[in-house]
């Protein structure tokens, strides 16, 4: 009798203990680009470990501001922080997941993936220098493709976004004129065209304007069956957007010589690399402000890199290639001290 009571008490105590030890809720904030995959990962992760992840997709700028203030356990940003900024606040950063950005067009009779554009031409289109689709430069890249002779209308994002950041970064890498006039950022002064709010705004505008060209996240273009283009990459090869070509960009980008992974991987050198591939950086304190939370956060990202590939793929993101995961784990071991 007595022993049974004791046993029950022990069980209750153990379960209580177990629960309190497990129920660590970590919070993060920032980029909306990673929000879908983070929320899917965190649901599975919570089922496995009981630790919940609360992520607010408030925008990269706000994410960085909040981690600087130390109100969250990690920030997520579509643009890397500079080495000086990281050092100043005692922060470290590493990439979490990879995705692609694709140009989309509304040209009657041109199928998805049929139209070919190279970087310089894409930049000139966005600079407003190509007036009609019958331009000889477009025809020269697309022999045999029947392109309607309509006016070119450029569509860009009106809201500040990581998508715009990576797209304009690519254009400044391939066009000196873009680099000197417009530069790159989450929002820029667009030389031409109209602005749609969010992926849905851009894709709706592209659907509504014959002869328009825009850019959206690959997952969005694929889900909504919008006609995307091929691009010529840095190696001179014609590439179609896909998980394979995004992964190729992530693994051929020169991460080794980039301190704190401070590298924007657009225009990556690999033969198979899709030129506008993007990642989101996770930003955390090198010297933890809350050891138990930091431990769970690291455990979560480690778990996601090792087990999250299929879930990422179902959302048309690409998990990080193995070589990069190894580098990140080495970076953790070297830089983060708990």
């Amino acid at each position: 009798m007595f022993t049974r009571k004791l046993r029950i008490a022990a069980l209750v105590a153990a379960s209580l203990f177990g629960m309190s030890a497990q129920a660590t809720d970590i919070t993060g904030a920032g980029s909306s680009f990673v929000y879908p995959v983070l929320s899917k990962w965190s649901a599975t992760y919570a089922e496995k470990t009981g630790n919940k992840l609360n992520y607010q997709s408030v925008g990269s700028g706000a994410g960085i501001a909040q981690i600087k203030e130390g109100t969250i356990d990690f920030g997520a940003s579509d643009a890397p922080m500079s080495a000086e900024d990281l050092a100043k606040f005692g922060l470290g950063q590493f990439p979490a997941v990879v995705g692609g950005i694709v140009p989309i067009v509304n040209l009657q009779g041109v199928a998805a993936g049929q139209l070919k554009l190279d970087g310089a031409l894409l930049a000139d289109i966005y600079l407003g220098k190509i007036a009609r689709w019958s331009d000889p430069r477009i025809a020269a890249l697309n022999p045999g493709v029947k392109i309607p002779d309509v006016k070119v209308t450029v569509v860009h994002r009106s809201d500040g976004s990581g998508t715009s950041f990576n797209f304009t970064n690519y254009l400044s890498k391939v066009s000196p004129e873009w680099a000197s006039k417009v530069k790159f950022g989450t929002a820029v002064e667009w030389p031409a065209g109209v602005g749609g709010k969010g992926n849905e705004g851009v894709s709706q505008y592209v659907r509504q304007i014959p002869g328009s060209i825009g850019y959206v996240e690959y997952a969005y273009a694929k889900k909504n069956a919008i006609s995307y283009t091929q691009l010529q990459n840095a190696a001179g090869k014609w590439i179609e957007p896909s998980a394979v070509t995004f992964a190729a960009a992530a693994s051929t980008a020169d991460w080794k010589s980039a301190k704190d992974f401070n590298l924007i991987m657009t225009n990556a050198p690999g033969d198979q690399a899709w030129p506008i591939t993007a990642t989101t950086w996770i930003i955390m304190y090198k010297k933890s402000k809350n050891a138990s939370h930091t431990k769970v956060a690291f455990d979560f990202f480690k778990w996601s890199m090792e087990n999250g590939q299929s879930q990422a793929a179902s959302l048309d993101y690409v998990a990080l290639p193995d070589t990069l995961v190894k580098q990140i784990e080495a970076y953790w071991a070297a830089e983060y001290k708990n």
Binding site: G61, D159, G160, G185, E189, G195, Q208, I209
Partner: protein, 343 residues
């Protein structure tokens, strides 16, 4: 003893009365203070909000000075900002909205109070109130997916054919040839694209109609039946009763209702962000794309830093200023009307 009792009774009664009076005075004062606090909260929060946008926008005002008001630049990578295009866009879309919303709301309110049969009044009034409760993002999505394509297929080509210098059908109309400058207001770089200043104004008009018409309906009901019946008895038509009795009787409240709608149109964010096209090019044309203050803030605030954030706060402060100016003009108009009536 008898004397003491009789002299005491009124004294205690009087003392009680005095105590009650004192209590009442104190309670009245407390109640008055409470009410004053309620009213002051509005004033304090208004001044606080305006002051904090001014404070957070100080960098932008200090950097660009008066040029901030006249510059049409909005260049985050080179940190050059100007408020001209957003301010213009805000005022133009709100004015277009008023031009369409006021007559329609007037018609709705008159129909409901003067003409509609009783069984119809209830359902239509509830429908209008429901319309006022629809969140603005719904209007934005509707505008983006349905109304903008409609404008692009039907309204915009017609306007451009008749009023612009580069019509899609190639024939420049008589009006454009003979009226100077008119073509400037109806030109468009994207003839097949529905989003723009006019579209945003029309969506705003639909959004503010419920506000204006329900205020108008309420105040039209306050007109004494005696006055209306007398006018009818003297042989007035319905229109004459409305124009000479109902409208003068309710003028102040009607204008108040219109300005309630205007306030909403000036500050509307999501619906406008979806159908305005979000460009920062200065143009007088209502068929071109543009930007408004609220849509610019909604678009860029999430990722803005440093001077860009400050510029966004600065235009937020300008929205206060614009609204304040508009309301002051309204007050002056009302005062002038009142003094005319007096003379």
């Amino acid at each position: 003893m008898h004397a003491t009792v009789s002299s005491n009774a009124p004294t205690t009664a009087r003392a009680e009365e005095a105590a009650r009076n004192a209590r009442d005075t104190r309670n009245d004062r407390l109640f008055g203070g409470l009410l004053k606090t309620c009213a002051l909260i509005v004033l304090v929060s208004l001044v606080g909000a305006a002051a904090s946008t001014l404070w957070l926008g100080r960098d932008a005002f200090a950097t660009f000075g008066w040029g901030f008001l006249t510059s049409s630049a909005w260049d985050p990578t080179n940190n050059q900002y100007g408020a001209l295009v957003p301010v213009m866009g805000t005022v133009t879309t709100a004015l277009i909205a008023l031009i369409f919303a006021v007559p329609v709301s007037f018609g709705i309110a008159l129909f409901l109070t003067e003409i509609a049969p009783n069984w119809l009044r209830g359902p239509v009034s509830s429908a209008i109130e429901l319309l006022a409760g629809i969140p603005s993002i719904i209007y934005g999505m509707w505008g983006l997916f349905i109304f903008a394509p409609f404008v692009a297929t039907y309204i915009k080509p017609w306007l451009m054919n008749n009023l612009s210098a580069d019509p899609p059908d190639g024939k420049i109309s008589w009006l454009v040839q003979h009226v100077p400058f008119i073509a400037k207001f109806f030109s468009s770089e994207y003839p097949f694209f529905g989003a723009g200043v006019l579209t945003a104004g029309l969506v705003l008009a639909i959004m503010i109609i419920p506000f204006i018409s329900s205020v108008m309906r309420e105040v039209f009901q306050t007109v004494p039946t005696r006055l209306k019946e007398s006018a009818y008895a003297l042989g007035s038509s319905t229109w004459e009763v409305v124009w000479d009795i109902v409208v003068p009787y309710t003028r102040t409240a009607v204008i108040g209702g219109i300005f309630l709608g205007l306030g909403r149109a000036l500050g509307e964010t999501m619906a406008v962000a979806f159908v305005l096209g979000n460009t920062f090019k200065f143009t007088p044309s209502i068929l071109e794309t543009g930007s408004s203050i609220a849509s610019t803030i909604a678009n860029q605030f999430g990722e803005a830093e440093g001077l860009q954030k400050s510029a966004l706060m600065a235009i937020a402060f300008l929205l206060f200023v614009v609204t304040f100016i508009v309301l002051t003009i309204a007050r002056l108009m009302l005062r002038r009307l009142a003094s005319k009536e007096g003379s």
